[in-house]
Amino acid sequence: MTDKKGNGPANGTPGHAANAANGANGSVPKQQNEAGEVIGVRRGMFGANNGGDTSGYGGLVRTVRLPGASSRPYGGWFDEVADELEGALEEQGLLPGNAIEKTVVDRDELTFHIHREHLLQVARTCRDDPALRFELCTGVSGVHFLEDKGRELHAVYHLRSITHNRLIRLEVTAPDADPHIPSVVEVYPTNDWHEREVYDFFGLIFDGHPALTRIMMPDDWQGFPQRKDYSLGGIPVEYKGAQIPAPDQRRSYS
């Protein structure tokens, strides 16, 4: 295995030399040329929303955005991977723009946002193309953005290339109303349990999965616990007389 320090995403790619300088104040590296995905709006400052905020910050409104699309050059090996992926997709007769919604470089990590209908093809290309060779998928992680209308459910895949010592991220979204994403189990069999876990917790249905059943929760469980509209506690539990105060009874900071 190579241990070239400058080559891995963990070690800062050349294109991100500027970011190291402003890393101190914790700001999001690199000015994005596109506004980024809005995932919510914060109001006020101290979590009081019944008029009790007398701090003077009660009228504060802040939009929460995830980092938006980046423009070339991405820096380091990111351009090489992006070129290879786009080229390989084009060779297969798929216009890269149709498959890749946007490419985001943030915190020295490369993310391809993929349209869900092309996920399988992109994953297969990532695995098989000799210049990409992402042999290892480290599973899928679900994220639920309640206020990101039409794109509430995100599935995030991290692909590792042992050959080239690289790591990329694929991100796919699905609306709550149609929570379907193609399964990548036939490309990465390791995702079998991972997809079951995401289904179990988020209700994302992975089409083509060999046996999509609950894996952690009991089979007859209702609801998907890791969704943001599923409260922590406050639901009836099996133990007699037990009561758990709902989290909205507790204080939270906006």
């Binding site: 295995m1 915190r107 480290t138």
Partner: protein
């Protein structure tokens, strides 16, 4: 165990030809909630069918309560005589919703949860989580050297204790109880060090975003040197006891076979992958916490079997001990937390007569002299710090393989989502591939060679 009894009355002698009347699962609403029924008339049919076939196929539930399944792991085995024809895992018995709980606590409090995931590798969970938070904050380059050295030191001690448990329980499951006694004896030495350094034997929450919760206590370096000396003497005992022993080899060799292609497809990492001959180790491939500056080797074997994994764990323990020694040698005085007062808690914890807690000097200061310090302390401890929106993935090489953390922030004081890619969870998928076609007794050996910990699998 569900062995069909031949004298069971059969409702449909020619059941296979008739249109089967499977009662489907039903749902009933009761005052207590929804009740699901999966009863039906098809049991008779199954029993009759099984009685007609002359094989000895039975389905055995091994677990969830079974001493040799490493916690509450349920193995569902279809066996034909002594041969396992199909094997499946039932997991989730130890699911505690840690990932969900994390979303309701501050980023700093998160370490208290993650340390409980894979309870045999707490420092790896903490480090991986803290690396993810630090990456989101953009402060990963500002972690003090001393904090990084202590992190590496604790992780390598943890690798020792985790591998010791793997070897000890693995030996016990074979009936080699001496290995178990030795393993737990040596693990106790490591746990004593944990207790000295963090105040606790497990569930430390010692590593925090930005550094460590406190510095090494006085006497830690001497205790570490004493430990290294002792372990140098103790480690060869495992070799003397097991390596090359004909009985041990007979049980482990060629059992739990998983080749490189299988490992890659199933995402197996750690000793399982290295037993297939690929020297993939994140400490070398994507160094973190300064691993690139330590002198150690990544051992591999190409036997693809349980015996190879046992040898690997032994060798990795020797390498870990080497790293521990280097850590102790390069410990320099200095801070163990980032300088940013908006992230670092205003005072480090102090060891009092009743255990680890608030520093009394600090309490005196904020209660008696400085109102602003009190406000700052209160805000930071109750509200926490904000983390800029975005997501990141941080991974460390845990004793079991790649431990990855996918952390998402929405700019708030609490994690929006934290997902742990636990190596036990992923590696356990390989159980079926390793066990099917083998003997029942070998299932135990194969599972032991994966070294799953259900706290990590179920989280």
């Amino acid at each position: 165990m569900s062995h069909p009894s031949p004298d069971r009355p059969s409702s449909s002698p020619s059941g296979a030809q008739q249109p089967t009347q499977h009662a489907t699962a039903g749902i009933r609403e009761t005052t207590e909630g929804t009740v699901y029924d999966v009863t039906g008339g098809d049991w008779d049919e199954i029993a009759a069918h099984a009685a007609k076939s002359d094989d000895e196929r039975i389905i055995v539930n091994m677990g969830p309560q079974h001493p040799s399944t490493h916690g509450v792991l349920r193995l569902i085995l279809e066996i034909d005589g002594e041969t396992v024809t199909e094997a499946r895992c039932g997991i989730g018995y130890l699911h505690t919703g840690i990932e969900k709980n994390l979303e309701y606590r501050t980023w700093t409090q998160g370490t208290t949860f993650v340390t409980r995931m894979d309870y045999l590798t707490p420092f790896f969970n903490e480090t991986a989580y803290c690396m993810a938070v630090e990456k989101l904050l953009g402060i990963e380059d500002e972690i003090p050297d001393r904090a990084n050295v202590i992190r590496v030191l604790l992780m390598e001690l943890n690798r020792l204790s985790s591998h010791l448990v793997a070897i000890a329980t693995g030996g016990m499951e074979l009936g080699a109880t001496t290995v178990m006694i030795f393993g737990f004896r040596d693990r106790e030495l490591v746990l004593d060090l944990y207790e000295l350094i963090t105040g606790l034997r497990m569930n430390h929450a010692y590593i925090r975003p930005g550094g460590l919760s406190q510095d090494l206590p006085p006497g830690a370096v001497d205790a570490l040197r004493e430990f290294i000396k002792k372990m140098r003497k103790n480690l060869p005992e495992y070799d003397a006891l097991c390596t090359g022993s004909p009985v041990f080899k007979a049980r482990l060799q060629d059992i739990g076979h998983l080749d490189l292609a299988g490992c890659m497809a199933l995402g197996a990492t750690g000793p399982v992958l290295r037993s297939a001959g690929l020297p993939h180790d994140l400490r070398k491939a994507q160094p973190y916490c300064g691993y690139e500056t330590y002198d150690f080797e990544v051992p591999t074997v190409d036997t693809c079997d349980s015996y190879g994994r046992f040898l690997l764990r032994l060798e990795e323990m020797r390498q870990s001990l080497r790293i521990v020694e280097q850590c102790v040698d390069r410990l320099e005085p200095g801070p163990v937390m980032v300088g940013d007062k908006k992230i670092a808690w205003p005072a480090q914890l102090a060891l009092g007569p009743d255990g680890l807690g608030n520093s009394l000097d600090h309490i005196k200061n904020i209660m008696g002299t400085s109102m602003e310090a009190l406000i700052h302390h209160f805000k930071l401890v109750t509200e926490g710090f904000r983390v800029p929106p975005g997501q990141t993935y941080a991974a460390v090489e845990s004793p079991k393989g790649e431990l990855g953390v996918h952390a998402v922030s929405d700019g708030g004081t609490r994690p929006y989502r934290v997902h742990f890619r636990d190596p036990s969870f992923t590696n356990l998928q390989a159980m079926a591939a390793m066990c099917e076609g083998g003997q029942v007794a070998d299932v135990i050996v194969a599972v032991a060679s994966l070294d799953p910990v259900m706290g990590g699998v179920d989280r």
